[in-house]
Symmetry: C2
Subunit: 232 residues, 2 copies
DNA sequence: AAATAACGTGTCAAAAAGACACAATAATTA
DNA sequence: TAATTATTGTGTCTTTTTGACACGTTATTT
């Protein structure tokens, strides 16, 4: 086949906005660059798309490289392509949004990349337009978590309702009524009582649940309203 | 500045999924290609991104070129980048989702591009992965229109509630209860009574409303539930 | 053993949603 | 010209969901 002629070809990168939750705060996995350009500055983890690689595979490669994880929650978030977003050379960046259980990642791989979990609230300034990417990802998380049960992706396999509530409170940076939250979550019938208790609890031990994976997959796109008034 | 070396550069295109509504059916603006590749086949309107052009400007250029319209509702829908999606040469395509009032477009410009409004229900097969793009755009429309008042973008400036209901029924391909729908729409307080009546109505003439643009812009991202059970 | 902190569940009133009925308007028809 | 018919606007009633709030339970701490 002939090639398209007289047409500009551009660099295409993927950047991954990786969220984690440590039980208290929402965190981002960021790298302190020990390579040029912008060596020493903070940025998202990214890389160029290989010639023979689908976009999502590029993102998954980068995520595996950094965290040692496969099968994590990944979504394409859109593409940033402003002419001067990368001062070195024009680069189109396809953003990927990832949610991981912060306890599962490979610490050695993270260290090898000079990566760190940073609290969203004390996030450093990032290079290029990466701050805007994080802003967009956070908006997306807030939007989607209000309607769909994707918050579970940030929790361990077994978790309590108070843990889930703390996650939601971290995502939206606001308090929630314990009793109404619990009722809402239980009404989804997504939770299976494991019979175990959360041993780390300070006083009364909370029930540990696990996700009903079948129902979760089945009803993921249903409109649930996990937040009282998620007007944005 | 130095350039990134040893890195593949790719073709970057934008493709526009353009929806319109004629009062009865949801329609797509498609072109019958009189150029290679795939001459004679149907496709979405698209083009390559210029070197000095932001992505959304590329899309707006293409949309203006085809319809003569500016200031239309445009959203980026994500990017398709499978290795072999374009058999000629690897091309990344950034999709843009556009809603226009079907009466406003420039018919000569549309004809010049060999473009046609096609009913979604009788859509021909499109080239490359354009069918998947349309599928994604339709999902997005159904998702977003269930929660946010973007349906108005498809209607004339002055419209009646029955017209709006017909639009929603076309989008979701299902009937709705007139009385509950009307109540829901009026409760948003997005509509301003123009004092005029819809003269095309067969019998009793419906009230013509216009959008409260200020409130629309203000409350666009609020979660309204325009569809009874939009489980997807 | 009492105090404390966190958890689970229940109640009640207000708001929203779903099902349905009736009156008003304007074209069509007898 | 009056009755018929199609379409539109608005209202009612019941059920469901939401938001605000209280109480008893469990396990640790004092």
């Amino acid at each position: 086949m002939t090639q398209y002629e007289h047409t500009t070809r551009l660099l295409v990168a993927t950047d991954c906005i990786i969220f984690g939750f440590d039980g208290e705060e929402l965190k981002l996995l960021l790298i302190k660059r020990n390579f040029e350009p912008q060596k020493g500055k903070w940025s998202l983890m990214g890389g160029f798309v290989n010639d023979d690689e689908d976009l999502v595979h590029g993102a998954e490669r980068i995520l595996y490289d950094l965290t040692g994880l496969t099968n994590i929650y990944v979504e394409q978030l859109g593409t940033f392509g402003e002419v001067n977003r990368d001062p070195v050379e024009r680069t189109i960046s396809v953003m990927f949004f990832a949610l991981i259980n912060i306890n599962d990642h490979d610490e050695d791989a993270v260290k090898a990349h000079n990566a760190h979990w940073m609290s969203l609230k004390h996030k450093p300034k990032l290079i290029f337009d990466h701050d805007k990417m994080v802003e967009k990802a956070l908006e997306h998380l807030r939007y989607k978590a209000a309607l769909h049960p994707l918050g579970f992706e940030l929790l361990p396999e077994k978790f309590s309702i108070p843990q889930l509530q703390k996650l939601y409170e971290a995502i939206y940076d606001r308090g929630l009524d314990r009793r109404n939250f619990s009722r809402k979550i239980l009404s989804t019938k997504l939770l299976i009582d494991t019979g175990e208790k959360h041993e780390q609890s300070a006083t009364k031990k909370a029930i540990l649940y696990k996700l009903d994976k079948v129902r979760y997959a089945d009803k993921f796109h249903s409109f649930w309203h996990f937040m009282p008034d998620p007007v944005m």
